[in-house]
């Protein structure tokens, strides 16, 4: 965990107003794990004041990528970064996915910008394992397939792929999923994660989810990012420190 001034290499615009920020920073690129995140100071000024958390999207040598859409003041500034600009990064933060283990098929489930952590995870999953991806969005505009593998798509309005949500799409493939020893890795809006949790409990699937929360510090000192725990209801877990990745059975979504 460190604070570091890194250098922007470039901003790449994917389709649909989704951006990748490529940053040169060996210290982070060489130590970060899939599912971890970085807290980025987008401006030196006091507005926006707080850092913004971003999942690590991918790593290539001494470079890493963040994925974002232009949503507010902070991301607008990020989208305007140029080669050579410096950017203040705090991280690596959080725990990351447990992708090494006893399963033969990794099932990626992403809703909207929940696609962000998966290019790096997919890269890191060992060669012998299968990877299949289920990607959802409200409309085709929200579907992000960047560097995903074996893709099936669901949209709420049916504008692309299966008409319905991504968990309903998983249900369509239930037979296939049950045939393999799968582990699900998911990230997306809470409504999706909630439905996914139920689906995993019913079918007894292993599942890790990357959760989101408002954050101030990102490293455990502000208590701003609580999430309810199933094991101990007298105490919240912290998304930034105990997560952002949780076994879906350990949290109440």
């Amino acid at each position: 965990m460190l604070v570091i001034e890194a250098l922007v290499d470039k901003v790449i615009e994917l389709d649909n107003q989704i951006f990748l920020l490529k940053i040169h920073c060996p210290e982070i690129a060489n130590s970060i794990k899939p599912g971890q995140f970085l807290n980025v100071r987008v401006s030196e000024n006091i507005y926006p004041l707080l850092r913004r958390p971003f999942s690590i999207c991918n790593v290539e040598g001494d470079y890493f990528y963040l994925m974002f859409n232009v949503f507010g003041e902070g991301t607008k500034i990020l989208a305007s970064k140029k080669y050579g600009d410096s950017i203040d990064i705090l991280g690596p933060l959080g725990n990351g996915f447990n992708y090494i283990g006893d399963y033969d098929t990794a099932v990626i489930v992403a809703g909207g910008l929940g696609a962000a952590p998966f290019p790096y995870l997919i890269k890191k999953i060992e060669k012998g394992k299968n990877i299949i991806s289920f990607i959802g969005g409200k409309t085709y505009r929200e579907v992000i397939t960047h560097e995903m593998k074996n893709i099936s798509i669901a949209t709420d309005d049916g504008s692309l792929g299966f008409k319905g949500n991504v968990v309903e799409l998983l249900n369509e493939h239930l037979e296939l999923l049950k045939k393999n020893k799968i582990k699900i890795f998911a990230c997306g809006p809470n409504s999706m994660l909630r439905a996914l949790k139920e689906f995993c409990l019913i079918n007894n699937f292993e599942c890790e989810v990357s959760t989101e929360s408002a954050m101030a510090c990102g490293f455990g000192i502000c208590q701003g990012c609580p999430i309810e725990s199933t094991k101990n209801q007298d105490k919240y877990l912290l998304v930034c420190k105990d997560g952002p990745v949780f076994n879906v059975r350990d949290i109440i979504i």
Binding site: L2, D88, A214, Q223, D234
Partner: protein, 305 residues
């Protein structure tokens, strides 16, 4: 030997420099230690402790606002017992004054916490939080009540020999009236200010952006208010003041000292740049040298009004 003497005195307490880390913005020190050498800062104030662990408020607890943030953490903390067992051992490894902040729902609870904690040698002083805006009982209910603040000061003082600092709320008409009663009842210093009550709405859902509806505003947005409160206390009451509110850089520290602070605390900035306190020490020294100030404490209350 430093050319400039950065050490300051706050009543009976000595700090190697005026920079302390504010309650609720450093946890119990361990995470911060990854970013800065705790031995180099003036002091650490713990997250508010209560007698029993507190779960705190449900999410969403925080939201950014223009040049500030609202929080309604609800005093989530491990409680006095776990603090002594699990948190103090880490802090003991450092040679840095440790101030225990206490928050409670009843006067008896303040007393009980102090009684237990005062036995611990590693604790240098207490900061009594009578100003948390985010809990139903205690907090501002006390912070708005002069006689309650007086009574809490008196009772806490009666069970400890350690210095007692009372942390006041800015959500009152005359903060100096509160400082006056703290002094009368034997309090050693004032911390000012805690957060200001604020709120924010989502214009699409028309719901408050934080679950608790209101929260405490902190960050640079509150600095002018904090400075005015420090000045008011300085002008009306003879008691040492620890200035808090929106400090983002070394110039802000100087400003707080000019307005009457003997020391200061850094809060929200710890979330943004946890290494900032160390970076600022150097600048404080340069400022003093340039202005031929031998002891930084000479700045306290040096306003030219």
């Amino acid at each position: 030997m430093n050319i400039v003497d950065l050490s300051v005195q706050v009543g009976p307490l000595n700090f190697r420099n005026p920079i302390l880390l504010a309650s609720g913005t450093v946890g119990y020190g361990n995470e911060m230690s990854e970013f800065l050498d705790l031995n180099k800062i003036g002091g650490i104030v713990t997250k508010s402790l209560s007698l029993k662990p507190r779960k705190g408020n449900p999410p969403q607890r925080i939201v950014e606002t223009p040049s500030g943030m609202l929080n309604a953490i609800g005093l989530a903390n491990v409680g006095v017992e776990v603090f002594l067992k699990e948190k103090i051992p880490f802090l003991k490894k450092y040679d840095v004054p440790l101030i225990c902040n206490i928050a409670a729902s009843t006067i008896e609870e303040y007393v009980e916490c102090t009684k237990i904690l005062t036995e611990e040698e590693a604790i240098s002083a207490f900061e009594i939080n009578v100003s948390c805006p985010n809990v139903k009982e205690g907090g501002l209910q006390f912070g708005n009540d002069i006689s309650a603040v007086g009574k809490i000061t008196e009772k806490v003082k009666s069970v400890t020999r350690k210095p007692v600092i009372v942390k006041l709320s800015p959500n009152v008409s005359y903060i100096s009236e509160f400082a006056k009663i703290v002094k009368q009842e034997g309090g050693d210093a004032i911390s000012a200010i805690n957060t200001l009550v604020g709120t924010a709405f989502d214009i699409n859902t028309r719901k408050p952006k934080i679950k608790n509806v209101t929260g405490g505003l902190s960050g640079p947005a509150i600095k002018p208010v904090a400075l005015a409160k420090v000045l008011e206390i300085k002008q009306k009451v003879d008691i040492p003041i620890i200035g808090i509110g929106g400090i983002m850089n070394w110039k802000d520290i100087i400003e707080f000292m000019i307005a009457g602070s003997s020391a200061i605390q850094i809060g929200t900035l710890n979330f943004i740049n946890p290494a900032a306190p160390i970076e600022m020490l150097q600048s404080l020294e340069s400022y003093c040298m340039k202005n031929k100030i031998e002891k930084i404490s000479q700045l306290t209350g040096s306003y030219q009004i």
